[in-house]
Amino acid sequence: MAEFLSMGGYGWYVWGSYGVAFLAFSIEIVSLRIRSKRDETQA
């Protein structure tokens, strides 16, 4: 497992890429959910 996470010494680069991508998708999904909820309550 530790070997997998270290990515042969490239862990920061590999997980930094996927982590930020995952974070970006999450932020978009959450902000869309908030926007949808707000629209529904105001409609």
């Binding site: 042969g8 490239y10 680069y13 890429s17 930020v20 970006a24 869309l32 949808s36």
Partner: protein, 232 residues
């Protein structure tokens, strides 16, 4: 299909909701499968070691950043040509998701550049034209946000989107037209120079991103439809 029937925001609204839910489900399943292939099945690269695994997010995100721009410009053109309300809404709904994929492509590219080229960033043709793409998305969104009348905002945004589409072939062919650190295309219409299992992981991740983009932009277009109905 009754295309012009669905071109009405009111009839499109429930359909968009159904498609969005299915798209997110497909995106989740494909992302899990793609990551499994990319990290569990595909072997270590002979030259780059494990660093190459960034490819499974970098290339799909970069493809999506260009594809979404083209689709956005297409809807913008449809809106200008036929004055259909939904077209402008679709263009507006696609822009933030396109910007998001552009950002991910640039970010993962920087983190891939450091171990392979020795630098996070260079001002070369491929990287610079992709950065311009990000600014085109931001410019489109800022321009639309700055105009109160939604129909006028759609038309102004559409002109910007159409002018900016010239940047797409520049990004795509930049690695051929200029000397660049960025490698050439590994995949084109004639075939692929990649190992089949690596290509499979990359394509599955691409379809996952595709499904995600459809889901996110359809949820957003539903928000836009509701907000414009309410504000008249």
């Amino acid at each position: 299909m009754k295309w012009f029937w669905y071109a009405s925001p009111q009839t499109f609204y429930p359909l968009a909701g159904k498609i969005a839910r299915a798209a997110f489900l497909v995106a989740g399943v494909l992302a899990a499968a793609g990551l499994y292939i990319g990290f569990g099945v595909a072997p270590t690269d002979a030259q780059q070691g494990e660093a190459y695994r960034i490819i499974y997010i970098h290339v799909p995100a970069a493809w999506m950043s260009m594809l979404i721009y083209v689709v956005m410009a297409f809807w913008a053109a449809m809106g200008l040509a036929f004055n259909t309300r939904l077209s402008g809404m679709m263009a507006q709904a696609l822009a933030p998701t396109g910007a998001l994929f552009t950002f991910i492509a640039l970010w993962s590219g920087a983190l891939w550049g450091k171990p392979t080229w020795g630098t996070y960033w260079v001002w070369d043709a491929r990287l610079t034209s992709e950065l311009i793409l990000l600014f085109l998305y931001f410019g489109f969104m800022a321009l639309q946000a700055s105009i109160d009348d939604p129909r006028r905002a759609d038309r102004a945004g559409a002109v910007l989107a159409l002018v900016g589409v010239v940047n797409i072939p520049i990004i795509y062919y930049s690695v051929q037209w200029w000397n660049t650190l960025h490698q050439g295309a590994s995949v084109n219409v004639k075939g692929s120079s990649m190992a089949p299992v690596m290509l499979a992981g990359m394509l599955v991740m691409t379809f996952a991103c595709w499904a995600y983009a459809i889901g996110a932009s359809l949820v957003r277009v539903r928000c836009i439809i509701r907000e414009r109905e309410r504000n008249g």
